[in-house]
């Protein structure tokens, strides 16, 4: 026979009644000041255990006995072996907590590096290009309102670029829908907006030494567009935001920065994968048109050299920072230029 001490709350008033519960086989005797009752063990329902939380015995009629004596309760009501029992077992052991931490970290890393990129691709493909185009137009409008000035390229130069670009994309799926926009932005840059718009800056046109270099840059941007990288990036970032909210969403007052900082860190990782994929697309595209790859490698190399000498406030450096692992890209491009 075992006995446990507890407090009975009858459910009718908030008054606590200290009681002693004697467990004798299936017979349960509850005794306290002004109280003496005998019940059958099966009449009493016990709650599922949580470590560090007092157990509650629910009596018929709505009364409840609260007790800290986990051991006696477990001995008298072994309970079914169910999910909450497993959880209790895990939660009671430091080793299991460490194991759970390792598994959680591994799973989170797996989701970030494998699941999200894999899932974002078909989702991006299922989104209508028209919907994405709206996003791209908005981006261009806000660029025009802030950073971008109208292009000052001579019309003849512009026409040459447009003609060469058209011949480059003639066999691309939906290639003739690509909208090439010229802007002046103080920065040698080219970028693909969501949808079907590529922006090329006057400064980039001035920076390249020949049209093969320029077509290399544009082929790279076409690669971003064909792979729908802008949209996939947004989707993957949203996935991380959801994941972080799930992982750390419990703590009050931290969500804003907690979501922004890891996204910024993981961006570099995603962006590198997209840059390499866009390069691969560019190699194939340039080769199909009998264009050399070496000029593209030369351009990348000159950009990399500039990086070492550039002033941190140089707009060029900001362009470079959006293209990480430039050395790796130069190496790959030169390998592709030498041929298989």
């Amino acid at each position: 026979m075992t006995a446990l001490e507890g407090i009975l709350y009858d459910g009718r008033s908030a008054a606590p009644h200290p009681v002693t519960v004697r467990i004798d086989g299936a017979r349960i005797a509850i005794a306290g000041p002004g109280m003496d009752a005998t019940l059958d063990r099966s009449d009493i329902e016990v709650d599922s255990p949580v470590p560090g939380v007092a157990r509650r015995l629910r009596l018929p009629g709505g009364a409840e006995i609260e007790t800290a004596d986990h051991a006696s309760v477990d001995a008298a009501w072994p309970g079914r072996s169910n999910l909450t029992r497993v959880a209790y077992w895990l939660e009671s052991r430091n080793l299991m907590a460490v194991l759970a931490l390792v598994v959680t970290a591994a799973l989170a890393w797996f989701i970030v590096t494998a699941v999200l990129p894999l899932a974002a691709e078909p989702v991006a493909r299922s989104i209508r290009p028209e919907a994405e185009q709206v996003l791209g137009e908005q981006t261009l409008r806000s660029l025009d309102a802030t950073l971008a000035e109208p292009s000052e390229l001579p019309p003849a130069r512009r026409e040459t670029i447009e003609r060469e670009f058209a011949s480059l994309v003639d066999d691309e799926p939906a290639g003739n829908h690509i909208d090439l926009q010229f802007r002046r932005m103080q920065t040698p840059n080219a970028f693909a907006l969501p949808g079907r718009t590529i922006v090329l800056t006057d400064e980039m046109v001035a920076f390249v030494q020949n049209d093969d270099e320029l077509m290399g840059v544009l082929a790279h941007e076409i690669g971003h567009m064909a792979g729908r990288h802008a949209l996939r990036m947004v989707l993957q970032q949203s996935g991380i935001a959801v994941l972080i909210a799930v992982l750390a969403g419990d703590a009050a007052g931290i969500t804003l920065l907690a979501v922004a900082a890891p996204i910024a860190l993981l961006n570099a990782r995603y962006s590198r994968a997209f840059e390499l994929a866009a390069d691969d697309h560019a190699y194939a595209l340039l080769q199909r048109h009998g264009r050399p790859l070496q000029p593209f490698a030369d351009l990348l190399r000159r950009l990399a050299e500039n990086r070492h000498t550039a002033d941190p406030n140089d707009p060029l450096l900001r362009y470079l920072n959006s293209h990480p692992d430039l050395d790796l890209r130069i190496h790959r491009t030169e390998a592709a230029a030498r041929g298989p």
Partner: protein, 348 residues
């Protein structure tokens, strides 16, 4: 015959006895199992975490209890997910349908507010007496949609008034057993808080602008190199810290305001959260959580819970024992299964 009025007022403090190590184990197991089961376990995990936190929130020697059925929470989450998934999908097929569903969500908001307040109250007990929430959807619609629209139309000027009305609705419709909550909350307190918060944010920008102008005149633009960019980062971080501090100020003051205006029978709550202390907790939590890649989340939760409990007390003229449970709900526990669809926790 007149009885002498009972002037003896008792001050009963809340306390929190949870420990970070113990809570960490519950938290990490919940997280791990939730990821492994594609989120299904999260409903069970939520109940276990909440039970731990409630049980260790203690008043006059007794803890609070939470016994929501995890399946109801899971159901609520599936509904919420379907709603949001539906909105996202509808946008793909027919953009107008998306706006229709957004409108539907807005119309559903009063119901969501009432249903989850009722769910949470009903499943929370203290000394085996359940809380309850009796707010009506119609009134919720007037308060949330009507008041919210007014706050928007007045460009935020009516926001403190809307906030007060919202808080009054939520507080006054709660009950503990058969004892209804009451509130003497006025909008004036909210006006002070939000005017001061706006002044704190506005003041920060004025100081920044003046500072930038001062730096420009003193050093000219000779230092346009590394130092100015690290100064930029410091400014952004400083602004973020200031934003967290203002957020903590609003949280602390509204918590105290609402607590001090909450009356339950013969007792009145007393909130004494201090904005500076809460801001320090929030900021150090951010640093700790980021620095440990999220591992410190459980510790951060426990610290905030401990401080919040330590800053809450009840002033009472009658012993807590005098509160009486609502035996009707006890008897009707099975009868409530009829309204099962409303018996869910929609966390949006």
């Amino acid at each position: 015959m007149t009885e002498p009025a009972d002037v003896s007022e008792e001050l009963l403090p809340f306390s929190f006895t949870g420990r970070a190590g113990e809570y960490f184990r519950i938290w990490i197991v919940s997280l791990c199992l939730s990821l492994l089961t594609l989120g299904i376990y999260s409903a069970w995990g939520k109940v276990r975490k909440r039970r731990y936190l409630n049980a260790h929130t203690r008043l006059a020697g007794s803890g609070f209890d939470y016994h929501a059925p995890p399946l109801a929470i899971l159901r609520g989450r599936v509904v919420a997910l379907a709603l949001f998934g539906g909105i996202a999908l509808a946008g793909q097929v027919l953009p107008i349908a998306q706006w229709g569903l957004f409108g539907l969500l807005l119309l559903l908001m009063p119901w969501i507010v009432v249903a989850s307040a009722r769910f949470n109250a009903r499943n929370s007990t203290y000394r085996n007496i359940a809380f309850g929430f009796d707010g009506r959807i119609g009134e919720a619609a007037r308060v949330f949609l009507g008041g919210g629209a007014l706050a928007l139309l007045t460009l935020g000027l009516a926001y403190p008034w809307y906030r007060a009305r919202r808080a009054r609705f939520i507080i006054a419709h709660h009950r503990y057993g058969v004892t209804s909550f009451a509130t003497d909350l006025r909008a004036g307190g909210f006006v002070t808080i939000y005017v001061l918060a706006a002044a704190m944010i506005g003041g920060a920008f004025v100081v920044l602008a003046l500072g930038a102008a001062a730096i420009a005149t003193i050093v000219g633009d000779a230092t346009r190199d590394l130092e100015s960019s690290s100064l930029g980062y410091a400014l952004v971080l400083g602004l973020y810290a200031w934003y967290v501090a203002v957020y903590a100020y609003v949280r602390a003051r509204t918590f105290n305001l609402m607590a001090n205006a909450t009356i339950v029978g013969a007792l009145r709550l007393r909130g004494t959260l201090r904005a500076r202390r809460l801001a320090w907790l929030y900021l150090s939590n951010v640093i700790a959580v980021l620095g440990t890649l999220g591992i410190a989340t459980a510790w951060a939760t426990i610290r905030v819970a401990r401080y919040r409990a330590a800053s809450l007390a009840v002033r009472t003229h009658a012993p807590l024992e005098s509160y009486v449970g609502d035996t009707r709900t006890l008897a009707g526990a099975t009868g409530s299964e009829v309204g099962d669809l409303f018996n869910m926790d929609v966390s949006l």
